[in-house]
């Protein structure tokens, strides 16, 4: 879905998100958080793109919208990914529509970090669920695909596929970025545990406000207790999150 938004969205950083709500409707009631998939300027207007899968009432209603319908968009919100300018290998691990912020990140890194290789491991339930594949293939030097049902690429979980190659990214100049279902991030956390690899993950949680007030979206961290996904995140260092 592409949303016409204010010019302030040009400052959006990969990993940041927006809160989206139907204008003048209480169904769905709460705004829904989505990672930013892309931000483009065209003819003086700014457009924010989000990628979503229909999973519940809110996304079902969104899927029935027609061109020109009005939405309220709040953002850009939260903390984005950090990429050191000296980074040589940027490894993206995407699960399903979790590819959205990683695709935005890849686009930025391709422009701003010269000489970095961008590699993507992309997993989904089936080949049909590999949303956003074409775009990320156009940016990354390598895209390695896996599907749970084996309908495309490596059969099995994306984290297993990545696990086989993990040693390739053990050097200081590599950075790993991931977004996907919590179960996938938990597996990744297990794989990377006790390894000196820098990895950031973007977390998803139910939110009401998106600006740090409702305290609804907290996640358990190892050293800071419960913290807000909307404000202290949604991007966290994987080792700071308590996945137990």
């Amino acid at each position: 879905m592409v949303l016409k938004a204010s010019a302030s969205f040009r400052e959006s950083l990969p990993g940041q998100f927006v809160m989206v709500r139907m204008t003048d409707s209480n169904a769905p009631f709460l705004s829904r958080p989505f990672s930013i998939y892309s931000v483009r300027s065209r003819g003086g207007d700014t457009f924010v793109e989000i990628l979503y899968k229909v999973v519940g009432k809110g996304t079902d209603i969104f899927s029935r919208l027609r061109e020109g319908d009005a939405m309220n968009v709040l953002g850009p919100l939260g903390r984005g990914f950090d990429v050191p300018s000296t980074c040589k290998k940027i490894v993206l691990i995407a699960g399903g529509v979790g590819v959205a912020p990683l695709s935005f990140l890849a686009e930025r890194c391709e422009k701003e970090i010269s000489g970095a290789e961008i590699i993507c491991y992309m997993g989904a339930g089936s080949s049909k669920a590999l949303a956003g594949l074409d775009r990320i293939e156009g940016i990354c030097s390598v895209v390695k695909i896996s599907t749970d049902d084996g309908s495309r690429g490596h059969p099995g979980l994306v984290t297993e596929f990545f696990g086989h190659d993990m040693e390739l990214y053990a050097d200081n100049d590599s950075r790993i970025y991931s977004c996907g279902p919590t179960q996938m991030l938990r597996s990744l956390h297990k794989l990377l545990k006790d390894r000196p690899v820098a990895c950031q993950v973007s977390l998803e949680e139910r939110m009401a406000c998106g600006i740090g007030a409702c305290l609804g979206c907290v996640v358990k961290t190892k050293s800071d207790g419960l913290v807000r996904v909307c404000k202290e995140g949604p991007v966290f260092d994987i080792n700071s999150v308590d996945f137990s």
């Binding site: 009631f29 007030a213 305290l215 979206c217």
Partner: protein
């Protein structure tokens, strides 16, 4: 026409009757990018306890039909950190700053109230005797007339500030509690707090909230809140603040017409962080259109 929007409630003068409800507006600062906080009649900050609290484990919120359930569990920085870290910033805001307080024992309430006596910049206390989220917490105070009166009197005895007591709707007869709390010395009543509710995930057959039950808020509760405010206005002689599901100026005006002297906007802040400024604007527009020069001439004008 220059409109008079100011209201006096229990020794507290507000520039207009629109306040933000505790727990929906953080400590004010969270909203400073989205509206001019100086426009608000009052900011009621997140509930404060004697010691900091982590609150409940997630999941803490779930959407419901025209509303939401929350079980945040009164997470807060504690009253001392509020005074040291949050209040200095709030002193720069030209709105009444009201500290919402709660405790698990009467002694806790008293200590928090005493600590806030010395805090410059706090205009009033709002005593939460009604939060349904904490297993051993406020519910026992707010649903038991004797306890509700006891905690009110204890806070009144020590506090130098106007004391607002926030009532829970989870009682058989809210007017009974309201009368007891009035008799115990409360300067103002605010109502309603959230209505205890529940939601179940039928796939996993588990509650949607880790705490099992939570507080229902949003437009779903507005008719209930309005009815209770109307009943309480008719039962007591101290000012009443209307709270519950206010999404826009029309909703706010309903509460004023039934007799609330002011309103609190809660869950609507989550959906649109600038909503309170819109409500003030639209309220003024309504008054201009109706030829009402003073908001006080509208309050309690319900015709039955």
């Amino acid at each position: 026409m220059k409109l008079k929007m100011g209201v006096d409630i229990g020794g507290l003068t507000l520039k207009n009757p629109v306040m933000t409800a505790s727990g929906t507006f953080g400590y004010g600062e969270e909203y400073s990018d989205y509206l001019d906080l100086n426009r608000l009649g009052a900011i009621i900050v997140k509930g404060l306890s004697l010691e900091p609290r982590d609150g409940n484990q997630p999941p803490r919120i779930i959407e419901t039909a025209s509303g939401m359930l929350n079980a945040v569990g009164l997470q807060n920085v504690g009253v001392r950190a509020f005074i040291d870290d949050k209040l200095p910033w709030l002193r720069g805001i030209d709105s009444a700053i009201i500290a919402n307080i709660f405790g698990e024992t009467i002694e806790d309430y008293v200590k928090v109230a005493e600590i806030l006596n010395d805090a410059e910049g706090v205009a009033a206390l709002e005593v939460n005797i009604s939060c349904p989220n904490v297993k051993r917490g406020g519910i026992t105070f707010g649903s038991d007339p004797a306890l509700a009166g006891e905690v009110t009197r204890a806070v009144k005895d020590v506090s130098h500030l106007p004391v607002i007591v926030k009532l829970t709707p989870n009682v058989t007869d809210i007017t009974q509690i309201a009368r007891v709390v009035e008799a115990a010395g409360a300067d103002v009543l605010s109502l309603i707090n959230t209505i205890t509710g529940m939601s179940v995930d039928i796939e996993k057959r588990v509650p949607h909230l880790e705490n099992v039950t939570g507080g229902l808020s949003g437009p779903a509760i507005k008719p209930v809140a309005l009815r209770m405010v109307w009943e309480v206005v008719n039962a007591v002689s101290i000012p009443v603040i209307g709270v519950g599901g206010i999404m826009n100026a029309r909703d706010a005006l309903e509460f004023l017409i039934v007799g609330a002297k002011a309103v609190q906007v809660g869950t609507a802040n989550f959906l649109n962080p600038g909503v309170t400024a819109d409500i003030i604007d639209d309220m003024e527009k309504y008054m201009s259109e109706k030829g009402i020069g003073d908001i006080n001439d509208l309050i309690g004008t319900l015709k039955i």
